[in-house]
């Protein structure tokens, strides 16, 4: 009883300690990626580690080869360039989803914009980042896409946020969306890194983030590259870059799952919201093979005009031919099929290692392991095979 009271007191002290009261987002370490000849590539609002990958706006690919903890600088080594062929054939290289459904959620529910929300972090049920996701949702819905937006709060903004948002991501995944996006904003102080113009309109860029510590990492990265490829053709400059770092960001739940960073906390919020229109178009084109700039409202308006104005033409419904779609589906099936075989291989490997290791350790060596196997065989076959356990 005394132990219980002591442990309760320790737990209460820990929970009430000043460090546990830090709930809002804190200032992040800002790291700089530089090439070996000292050229600055970008900034990242989190520590960078050796092995992290980076795909720059010009599609050059890099790998972090060294990090300097003191100066927060990471040196990268150029590893190549994303294949231009994949871009040229896009969107024919992936199977298009049958049902136009997308899932959205915001793990860091407090993220906001100083220039628009008045603070970079708002611990309210609706923060600036929810506005971004809601605007993206409305643009997607204008493209006939059904959007399930989970507006739950996962506060505090701490190391447990992704654990809490995992339930939301899982709930979204259950409804069978074609893709899931976790909507964020960056934390680097330099807003100019995110400033750009698309079709003459000032907007902020979007950074794609992929976690490399999950079994779907390759598929997540491929999806991110596909999104960027489409954006590079349709709206050059909209996608800032792709960072592939540690962590899983709940991306293990779906292959087509990516974290989107809309601007940074110092960006102009109106420009951030303006970028959602183009990003919705990129998602619609990439995931569903939609036509660039397709808008339900615009089409309706044009249809009503066409009834009165002879010769008016509706926006084209750009959908790939059946043969191309079938070949794309086959490719995706092969891609996902390889993932299944890898998973099965991991399970079998783990089981073999565990069976041999544990058996050798705990069951009197390999003879004990054999006894155990015989007993199990006897149990499942009703004594037909194996060795009956001693009464």
């Amino acid at each position: 009883m005394k132990r219980l009271w002591i442990s309760l007191m320790i737990a209460a002290l820990l929970a009430a300690s000043p460090v546990s009261c830090v709930h809002a987002e804190t200032e992040h370490e800002v790291w700089t990626l530089t090439t070996q000849d000292g050229q600055q590539l970008t900034q990242i609002a989190a520590p960078v580690t050796v092995g992290d990958e980076y795909i720059a706006q010009d599609n050059r690919t890099y790998r972090v080869s060294a990090v300097d903890e003191a100066s927060h600088r990471a040196t990268v080594q150029e590893t190549g360039q994303e294949a231009a062929v994949a871009q040229a054939f896009f969107p024919f290289v992936r199977a298009l989803a049958a049902e136009k459904r997308i899932g959205l959620y915001c793990t860091h529910s407090d993220e906001s914009y100083e220039n628009g929300d008045g603070a970079y972090s708002l611990e309210e049920s609706w923060a600036g980042i929810h506005d971004v996701a809601a605007t993206l949702k409305s643009w997607l819905e204008d493209k006939d896409v059904t959007v399930e937006f989970n507006t739950d709060s996962f506060l505090p903004h701490d190391a447990g946020a992704y654990r809490r948002s995992r339930a939301a991501a899982m709930e979204l995944a259950k409804s069978g969306p074609a893709a899931i996006f976790d909507i964020h904003r960056d934390g680097i102080p330099d807003a100019s890194e995110y400033e750009t113009e698309v079709d003459g309109e000032k907007v902020t860029k979007v950074r794609l983030l992929v976690g490399r510590s999950n079994p779907n990492s390759a598929e997540n990265k491929q999806f991110a590259v596909q999104l960027k490829s489409v954006a590079d053709e349709a709206y050059p400059g909209l996608i800032k870059d792709i960072f592939i770092g540690k962590g899983n960001y709940n991306q293990e739940l779906m292959p087509d799952s990516v974290l989107l960073e809309f601007g940074t906390h110092t960006s102009d919020k109106d420009q951030v919201l303006a970028s959602t229109q183009y990003m919705a178009d990129v998602i619609n084109m990439t995931v569903f093979g939609g036509a660039q700039g397709y808008s339900q409202k615009a089409q309706r308006a044009q249809e009503s005009e066409s009834q009165t104005v002879p010769g008016a033409v509706s926006p084209p419904q750009n959908s790939p031919g059946t043969a191309v779609r079938q070949s794309a589906q086959t490719e995706t099936q092969q891609r996902s099929g390889s993932g299944v075989w890898i998973a099965i291989a991991i399970i079998v490997g783990l089981a073999v290692v565990a069976v041999v290791g544990f058996g050798a350790l705990s069951g009197g060596g390999f003879s004990g392991l054999g006894e155990s196997m015989k007993r199990f065989s006897s149990e499942v076959t009703g004594g037909l095979f194996g060795k009956k356990p001693r009464e």
Binding site: M1, R3, L4, S7, A11, L14, A15, S17, V19, S20, H23, E25, A45, A46, P47, T49, S109, E123, D152, S153, F154, L155, H157, D158, A159, G160, Y162, R163, R164, R166, A167, A168, A169, M170, E171, K174, G211, S213, N214, P215, N216, K246, G247, N248, Y249, A343, I347, L350, A351, V355, F358, G359, L361, S362, G363, L369, S372, M373, R375, F376
Partner: protein, 223 residues
């Protein structure tokens, strides 16, 4: 396939091949019961969470089945001492989960490994230090995460921060389930290694004629 599902499938395979027999013995389970629990966690995880009013909900596979398992283990625990250890380990694990959330960096790219596995490791270590018990480990792993989530919701409510509590919402992939299994596996592995290294045989409980018996290689005595 996620690591969580791989872990559960690996545990199922281990149970099927009888490898975890001694761990299951200590957890007062037979092969079929263990597989049934794993199947219930899998199936229950695919069902929608049950709303409990407000913004609170609970998932069958991710929270109710593991919680039920904890109740069963708590009742089946050999002694009152072991039950107290389970309670203490759960409370300390919950505090550790809360503290890890605060102290560790909030961006996953800064973590050397997935934080979802850290909770189970903490629970396994705490429970093992308290009494080298597999039962304590599982209860601490599951209840530690559940209590931490509830405590966080209470803290949010007190501070006027929005409260959304979905206990075990990610089903079989939730930290509740992962933590419980990782804690037991860690406890079993460390326990076996230490006992092998020190040359001391394990003292484990079995049910004989409806009564619990502690056995030490050839010797059996009643508690």
């Amino acid at each position: 396939m996620s690591l969580g599902r791989i872990l559960l499938l690996a545990v199922s395979v281990l149970v099927l091949f009888g490898v975890g027999q001694r761990v299951l013995d200590r957890m007062r389970l037979n092969d079929r019961q263990a597989l049934l629990v794993i199947a219930a966690i899998f199936a229950g995880g695919f069902l929608p969470s049950i709303p409990l009013g407000g913004s609170i909900s609970v998932n069958i596979g991710g929270a109710l089945v593991p919680f039920g398992m904890c109740i069963y283990l708590f009742i089946c625990a050999g002694t009152a001492k072991e039950r107290w250890r389970a309670v203490i380990a759960s409370v300390l694990t919950a505090a550790a989960v809360l503290l890890m959330g605060r102290l560790l960096p909030d961006e996953p790219e800064t973590m050397p490994f997935d934080i979802n596995y850290a909770y189970g490791i903490a629970a396994g270590i705490i429970a093992y230090l308290l009494g080298r018990s597999r039962i304590c480990s599982f209860i601490a792993g599951v209840m530690g995460v559940l209590l931490a989530d509830i405590a966080q919701a209470v803290i949010n409510g007190v501070r006027g921060v929005p409260v959304n509590l979905n206990l075990g919402g990610a089903g079989a992939l939730d930290a509740v389930v992962l933590s419980g299994f990782i804690a037991v596996m860690l406890s079993a592995l460390v326990g076996t290694l230490i006992e092998r290294a020190t040359g001391k045989s394990e003292r484990h409980a079995r049910i004989v004629d409806g009564r619990q018996v502690f056995a030490t290689r050839g010797k059996e005595r009643k508690p």
